[in-house]
Amino acid sequence: MSPGAPGAESAPLLELDGVTKSFGAVAALRGVHLALHPGEAHALVGENGAGKSTLVKTLAGAHAPDSGRMTLDGRPLQLRGPADARAAGIAVIYQEPTLFPDLTVAENIFMGRQPLRGLRRIDTRAMNRDAERLFERLGVRIDPARPARGLSIADQQLVEIAKALSFDARVLIMDEPTAALSGVEVERLFAVARSLCERGAAVLFISHRFDEVFDLCQRITVLRDGAWVSSDRTADLTVDEVVRRMVGREVSSLYPKQDAPLRDTLLEVRGLSRAGVFSDVSFSVRGGEIVALAGLVGAGRSEVARAVFGVDRYDTGEVRVAGRVLPPGNPGKAIAAGMALVPEDRRQQGLVMELSVERNATLARRRALSRLGLLLGGAERAEARRWTRRLQVKTARLAAPVATLSGGNQQKVVLAKWLATEPRILIIDEPTRGIDVGTKAEVHRLLSELAGEGLAILMISSELPEVLGMADRVLVMHEGRVVRELPRGEADETSVMYAATGQGATA
């Protein structure tokens, strides 16, 4: 029962109207509406990349909107920075904790607002006492005088919550605060959120867990591809309806995976676990097959890929390539065994931005191309030319730095780099993130071709149409586990989304 619910609509406390925000050519928010009423918890749901986090950062004053209006109490609200948002009474709990590891827990909570005594000195004792009170309210015990370094993720999140509470905020924004929390801690958080609502505050709650959304919130706003879809009272909605609106688009036939004859199993992963990240992940990929790892951001998909490739360690389990066990934590061995990983973050993990296209394209093959330990220009150039031509990389010259290329062409160079090693197994993380539609189609055609040549492809993707169009099989991960395996015929948007949000589906 929400105090704001009965009778006439109360005037919104915080209102957004037609807010847009673009990063370069990518429109992250396209005319978003949102009205937060006093005394109400309001849920914001949407797929990965629907624009939720951008919206949060806009409300927090970290991003300035390109256009649109924001009002607080009916008065226009302009946020020039996070400090303005704070002053307006907007507190944010970010998805990833933003703590200062070297400072104490209490300082983290009260940074910039520490209680003072004479000569405007910080009153450390009062600050620790206040922090202790906040933790009592949350029903947890964290030593306020200990440094934040070394706190568990859950405790870090609790410190963030205590920080937001200490503001006595009028608007509390929580961006997936419960991902790291246990059931009891979630209950306490909700109790605090409800007590804030009772005092007339407005709460914006972002979560992929529908049970929590329906438990806490009085209204639900759905975003899709940066655009506002709907805002309704929770009572008028069902989980099915919300999922349908989140997905809500036609599966385009942009992503044709050609049927290829399935060959032997090339990659086999058994019982792979890493404490706190993923557990008991098992799957196999055959030659000629594309297997998609679907799931929400933070479900542990990239972490699994990195562990399989040997960039990260794992606690238990094993990885076999064509039947032979791959030693853990050794990417060199993985490459030698014929595995290639095209990472999610091209700039940081896949490319050396300052080096030329040809250098990047042949980076993973330096040894094979060198004679007596020397890399000779000719060999590099010939190899680079072969692959960039096949992938149709658009660059003025091979000697141009990679940084000068467009996102789509950069992605092709990363692909060229790994394809040049002539792998048998290709792991590709978000193959088409941030690249234009035309290039997307080319990348898809290429992946399909490669599978046709007998490669085993493991594809991680947050774009449902891509997953559904390309994959022979879909593995859905939720909170570090593979919760569902769907063959091509059974995978559709609803079944994948259901499993990804942890709705009752168990494999």
């Binding site: 970290a62 933003t98 910080i122 306490r188």
Partner: protein, 353 residues
């Protein structure tokens, strides 16, 4: 509301606030204390060993020389602490010191009647202007401070050389009242050292007890989080470079008063000693932790090593090696303490007690 209340009362029953509050307080503070204590012990051991070999090392004159010798390095190390804590570094302090020292000499040449307090103020102001140049370039160019101040290290020194044009200024060119500042003692303690003490106390107090002081640690600890929590990162970093420039200016004036003889090379290479003193004193080079007191102790320790090795008649080559070993030892100690603290924090259950 009812839910929270129950939670709180249950909690309060088995967790009386004052007890844990006091018992658990100050793990971080204790760590700092351990760090500073270990420096004091090293200093005491060094003095003891040297005195055993040569009892004149603890004579009044010798101690006076020591305090006089370390004062300038202490001031610079404390200024550098302000900068390093924010995950920056200022390599131009040696050049600022040289420039200000020469400018002070020039001032007395041009206007011999200038009262020394005015000269002091002007020197500090010139240092601050150099700091403005550093801070401004860093803010505008968005290039790491290491690179910018490496540039201004040469730029300021270049200005100095151009200005000096090979000339040297001698003690005879400066008023006696000013030179006395460099050698006079109050109750046996050199004035220079007293000035350094005041700087240490002021900066130490500021860093520990003021909101903006704590924000400097926050910036160095996690710059992205600092921005998200509304700390004016750019303004604070700018201010820190100005303050450090001003302190280097102060050190430059004191240098002129102490040595009397000035040419364009004054303070060359001093910046590395300054950074070494701060690091030995427990200021983390990646920002976020360390204290002005520690940096000052580091400066005293480095100076004492210099003179004690001389007393022990040890080859100057070894002095360099010892300083190097000390830096490595300091880093090793920091790492050890950090590991031990991490172990202790893990030892506690996630929710304290």
């Amino acid at each position: 509301m009812s839910l929270t209340d129950t939670g709180a009362s249950v909690q309060a029953a088995d967790n009386p606030p004052p007890g844990p509050g006091r018992a658990r307080r100050g793990l971080t503070e204790r760590l700092l204390a351990v760090r500073e204590l270990s420096l004091l012990i090293a200093l005491a051991a060094l003095i003891l060993v040297t005195t055993l070999r040569n009892d004149r090392f603890l004579s009044g004159q010798s101690i006076k020389d020591l305090l006089l010798g370390c004062a300038i390095l202490v001031i610079l190390a404390v200024g550098q602490t302000l900068v390093i804590v924010t995950r920056n570094v200022d390599l131009s302090v040696g050049s600022i010191l040289g420039l200000v020292a020469f400018a002070t000499g020039e001032l007395f040449l041009a206007a011999p009647g200038t009262p020394w307090p005015l000269a002091l103020l002007l020197g500090v102001a010139l240092g601050a202007v150099c700091g403005v140049v550093n801070g401004g370039l860093i803010a505008v160019a968005k290039v790491p401070a290491l690179v910018i101040t490496l540039g201004t290290l040469y730029a300021f020194r270049g200005v100095d050389y151009y200005w000096a044009a090979g000339r040297q200024i001698n003690a005879a060119d400066m008023p006696r009242s000013f030179l006395r500042l460099g050698n006079q003692t109050v109750l046996g303690v050199p004035v220079l050292f007293l000035v350094a003490l005041i700087v240490v106390a002021a900066v130490g107090f500021y860093l520990r007890s003021y909101r903006s002081g704590r924000e400097l640690y926050a910036i160095g600890s996690e710059p992205a989080a600092a921005r998200l929590s509304g700390i004016p990162v750019g303004r604070r970093v700018f201010a820190v470079f100005v303050a450090n420039g001003a302190l280097a200016g102060l050190a430059g004036v004191l240098y002129a008063a102490r040595f009397g003889t000035l040419d364009a090379a004054a303070g060359t290479g001093l910046e590395l000693q300054v950074v070494a003193a701060a690091v030995v004193g427990g200021v983390a080079i990646f920002g976020g932790s360390g204290s002005a007191y520690g940096a000052a102790l580091g400066a005293v320790l480095l100076t004492t090593i210099g003179s004690s090795l001389a007393v022990l008649r040890i080859d100057p080559f070894w002095q360099q090696a010892v300083v190097g070993a000390l830096i490595l030892a300091a880093i090793g100690l920091d790492r050890l303490l950090a590991l031990r603290m991490a172990a202790r924090l893990r030892g506690r259950s996630a929710h304290g007690a």
